[in-house]
Symmetry: C2
Subunit: 699 residues, 2 copies
């Protein structure tokens, strides 16, 4: 359990170091926020000149502040921060928020200043949030250490953000919509307290029902995964990652000074740990709010109840695009509705009550549908009509939502007429959207979390000590090299139990023939020469040699031919390889990500990996189920399973190879990249063989 964070949210007393008496200063705004809500702790402005600000007695030095004080907020120029921090340490304060900017984000001098601060913190068992942040809010204790205007409603969402501006913007966006929060935590440069720490803290706080996170980059990817994997078993984590494209990543690193791993690695890490990734800020709050208000859907059959056909069609599109379907309303219910609704109403799904429908009609539909076993999800839609009262209609949503565990999501397609209805719905935890298209994406995200919770849980792949020592010795021998070719990579793979195509080096025709009989005929010969890059063009490949005699003959023909056409080439000998059987070619690889570590890759072989980008990624260590889903998410995986009557290939062998390769990567950080290209996958039960492979070593 993460320690020392509770003072950031419910301190007994707060010192504001650098509190100004001028209303046009941010620190004055912080004092206002600390005093205007229900925060019951003490507030101590530290100011060299003023006696009193906002009716609060000022102190010259934080060391003079009386008990209780367990949180300090520093709002000084960066150069004065270190001294202030030392004063806090002397005063025994264990939690400090540094609002000030001018640290890591401005370059080297800022990095040095952060290091100096961290030294003080570590020596004094102190936790720091920031610098370059806007502080924290706790909607339960009423604490607000930010200078953001306004405080949202109390509710289920704990929000953590690496951007202070995003915190401020979000408050401005949602504050009049009655969406409720437990905390806001703006982390800035994350000198000490990280997003993972806050997620762990929120995970343990019973008020938090759902965690919303805005993330730009993660320092310690493996720790993040560890924390988040545990928390997401208990409560959903909805996350927006900025810097997903190259341009976005550049923008992030230019304003934070941090270097991020690849987005493919982030995506894989999120998927593997149950994080619900969303595409934009609007979805971040739509999805979090729905998860905070509703049970997860028990199935995929939605009933739409509407007073207008067009918006219902848009909602239907959105449901279908997210994997949901329109429920078949049971005949009994249809019969009952026929009696209650306008005779021209449509009683099959979408139930279109026509423009005149009022609260009674909505109520009749919902009352019946909450008991219809064919229906898992309720989606009432109201387009404002001049003669229909949106508040009365919304009351029927609230009433029926309380009577059922089925998720009920409302769409009120308007703005001017629906403010009061929205407030009513949100205060009663019925999530509401203004656009009929929004519900599908929200339900889709809820379903992904549902599927994650229901997945089969397994232990991580761990093959024990299979080839570690041998490979470690080899790598020590190769440490002057940047990369290893096929000949050197092959025994490394073999040491980890990966089948490589049989073969070996031979320096003359007789040795080639011997080797061929040893590994089994037929074989192929491939010239080995530093001077020949394109073996095939140079006549340096002979295939399908079926006898020792044929091998010798081919060797001679090959050498004679090359020596004539390329007299200057130094020919070392040949690789003798068993001819590969028929099979399907895939690519398996590993690239070590700076944030998350070994990133495993699986994809379609041949030209298709580049043409259609048919690849998937996961972060090692892996569960076997991760590997299976990694394979199945690609077209290559569907081909392996047997597509359109073709024979199924040995999927299990591919799973095994990826597992072994992941252990190789975990055991040997000196390996920066590995690629098996192609891995030839034989028919089911026949295994898989690495035909070609290479390694890149860490610098």
């Amino acid at each position: 359990m993460v320690k020392g964070l509770s003072a950031f949210f419910s301190p007994k007393g707060v010192a504001v170091i650098g509190a100004s008496s001028h209303a046009n200063k941010l620190s004055y705004g912080i004092l206002e926020n600390l005093t205007q809500y229900q925060f019951e702790g003490k507030v101590y402005p530290i100011n060299l000149k003023a006696k009193e600000i906002l009716g609060l007695r000022c102190y010259l030095d934080v060391r003079d502040v009386p008990e209780p004080v367990d949180l300090a907020v520093i709002v000084l120029p960066a150069r004065m921060t270190l001294e202030a921090l030392k004063a806090c340490a002397e005063r025994g304060i264990k939690a400090v928020i540094i609002i000030s900017g001018g640290f890591r984000e401005i370059g080297e001098s800022g990095v040095a200043l952060e290091e100096a601060c961290m030294k003080v913190a570590k020596e004094n068992d102190m936790r720091i949030i920031g610098p370059n942040c806007v502080g924290t809010m706790d909607l339960y204790s009423g604490l607000d250490t930010t200078f953001i205007k306004g405080m949202p409603e109390v509710g289920p969402i704990g929000f953590v953000s690496q951007s202070g501006a995003v915190c401020g913007g979000v408050v401005d966006l949602i504050i009049d919509k009655q969406i409720g929060f437990t905390h806001f935590a703006s982390l800035g440069n994350e000198m000490d307290v990280s997003e993972a720490d806050i997620i762990e803290y929120f995970g343990a706080d019973p008020h938090v029902k759902v965690i919303a996170a805005y993330i730009e980059s993660i320092q310690d990817g493996r720790h993040f995964m560890q924390v988040v994997r545990q928390v997401s078993e208990k409560k959903p984590i909805v996350l927006l990652k900025a810097g997903r494209t190259d341009a976005g990543a550049k923008a992030v690193s230019s304003h934070t000074g941090s270097l991020a791993g690849s987005y493919a690695a982030y995506q894989a890490a999120f998927e593997q740990t149950g994080v619900i990734e969303v595409d934009n800020i609007k979805e971040l709050f739509n999805v979090s709010w729905a998860l905070g208000c509703l049970e997860l859907p028990g199935g995929k059959r939605a009933a739409i109840i509407t007073n207008a056909g067009g918006p219902a069609a848009l909602a239907s599109d959105s449901l279908a695009a997210n994997g949901f379907e329109l429920a078949d309303i049971s005949q009994d219910v249809q019969q009952m509705l026929r009696e209650k609704l306008n005779p021209s109403a449509q009683v099959s799904n979408p139930i279109d009550m026509l423009g005149g429908a009022e609260a009674e009609e909505y109520d009749a539909c919902l009352q019946n549908l909450i008991h219809d076993e064919n229906v898992d999800i309720l989606l009432p839609i109201l387009v404002p009509q001049s003669l229909v009262d949106p508040v009365a209609v919304s009351q029927t949503f609230v009433k029926n939502a309380e009577l059922t565990c089925k998720p009920l999501l409302a769409c009120l397609m308007g703005e001017r007429s629906i403010g009061e209805a929205r407030a009513l719905l949100h205060q009663n935890h019925v999530p509401m959207y203004q656009f009929p298209e929004d519900a599908g994406a929200v339900l889709g995200a809820m379903q992904r979390y549902h599927d994650y919770l229901k997945r089969s849980k397994q232990k991580m792949v761990n093959l024990g000590d299979i080839g570690g020592k041998y490979v470690a010795d080899q790598l020590r021998d190769y440490k002057h090299l940047e990369s290893l070719g096929e000949a050197e990579t092959r025994p490394i793979l073999a040491a980890y139990g990966i089948t490589v195509i049989g073969g070996g080096f031979a320096k003359d025709a007789d040795e080639a023939a011997l080797k061929a009989e040893e590994i089994g005929l037929p074989v192929a010969l491939k010239i080995v020469s530093e001077n020949i890059l394109h073996k095939s063009d140079a006549g340096g490949i002979k295939l399908n040699l079926a006898s020792a005699e044929e091998v010798k003959c081919a060797y001679k023909t090959m050498f004679d031919g090359i020596q004539q056409s390329m007299p200057e080439a130094r020919l070392e000998g040949v690789l003798v390889e068993k001819m590969a059987p028929e099979g399907q070619e895939v690519i398996i690889g590993m690239r070590r990500d700076p944030t998350f570590g070994p990133l495993m890759m699986f994809g379609m072989g041949g030209i298709y990996v580049e043409l259609i980008k048919d690849v998937s990624f996961k972060v090692a260590p892996l569960e076997y189920s991760d590997i299976v889903s990694m394979i199945e998410s690609t077209y290559a995986g569907r081909l392996l399973k047997g597509f359109r009557g073709s024979k199924p290939a040995d999927m299990q062998a591919v799973v095994d190879v990826i597992g072994r390769l992941s252990q190789l990567a975990l055991d040997h950080p000196g390996i920066s990249e590995i690629e098996i290209n192609p891995l030839l996958v034989l028919d089911q039960g026949q295994g898989a063989v690495a035909l070609d492979s290479r390694v890149i070593l860490s610098a």
Copy 2:
């Protein structure tokens, strides 16, 4: 030019038939709307009892109404509509809006009623909007025949909607955002006036700068394409199609009673005619508003100016995802900004002025960037800060937008604090978004329109009379059949100049040998027998026969073998076919869409067409450039061009085959589907050969 529509928007006098004196009736709402804005025409309520409503003198019958009256709005129960229409005809009214529902959407009796109404309309040269609609608004004349509450601002957007509710919802959504419109037209069942008519009318109206359309289904796809193709050369058409998925299409047809063509055909038709398709209602207005306010971007280099890094990163992601890039700010400008901005500010792109930035800083950035030749697009972002005035900042956006042709799109990430600033921006036609992610999609849509306008324009493929008579004769002979196999399809393709694999039927070994020499060796033999489905399994295929002797020998072996193993099979003879050379396999097809006509298809051959759904569609008739873009939009097309050093295939031959097949489809409506699968594409300059093909005939 479409006729008779101007009275729907700027009539001299309006009769409201069925006007009620009760404030809780929709028709009362219509009278209110007709009288409370600046509409200067006369308004005549038709009511059997009341003398006066809202100060307007009532008439018993529309025939009694004095001049001027050129528009009637009927708000009666469906069963009374026909009589009212006849009365309008007698009164000489040529434009009628039928608000009432209870027509086609309720089934057969409604269809009959519509037909009866249309008879009256045609006999009297009358145009009808509706039934089952909410009427029209003209923001310039002040006319409002709807019962929607409120009237939006005057502005550049002409909005046409097949759903009345979507009109009402949209008004409610945008009315407090100062987004401006020219007209609203709700068309309902489109008994007479269609979306194409209104688009044509808006196309000719100089007030309309951009057309926004909400469409559920189109009756006459070819007419729609014809109209829209012309209008979109002059002004952009932004369109949201409901019913894109099967579920959505079902929802549409259940509430309109219409049967829609496939969404693939809609998409193709929109692309080919320059329609800017959007995904949801929010985008419909974001994109329309931007197109109404801004010039099209002259390039793809955007400059972001921000007071917060996080939102700039989100905007960067959104730009990159839509094909835009961050401009390299010129060194001169960077130098100037370094002097004006906070010393810690980031002066390369995104320009991050930090949280304290005020109007002067925004102004300094924009003043410099509007003249920077490296910058095509300006994207200022403001996250509300407690000490910064959003209105003052927005004033700098307005001022600088007026000084440049470069599109300037503002992001104000908030709601509570930004209302006044938004009003200022929108009143001055600077489009503004609340989420940093929105700008990318808007710019992407603008760029698609820009690309459409700049495309190379060509004539439609027209090969003249190439094989029409022959095929017409053939099809007459086949009219009892449902489909044609390869043998019958081959001469049809050949008649249109498509190369088919050489070959023909032979009834004995000698004839087979003769045929083989005629078409050129080597050949393949394929058994022809009704009783043999799987030719290969039955030993009914012999490949690579290189001499007449070999052909005879293979024929005998084949017949002897089959007669032994399947004595009951009736063997008719063999197909003798030239052996196919090496090449790349693609699929070309045509399916006749009920809305748009011949829908041409191109895709990757083999298992990939099903595995990765690598297909593209276009509606015939086609320009050659359509065919090229159809091919190039697929992976198959990239392979044909020569991928990763493979030889380029004969792309031109594929273009030619698709062109010829499209003409075949246009010439012969009796053909419902054609498929060439595979078409073998040879190396560049070597052509393409249809290896197998089939036709399905219309019922």
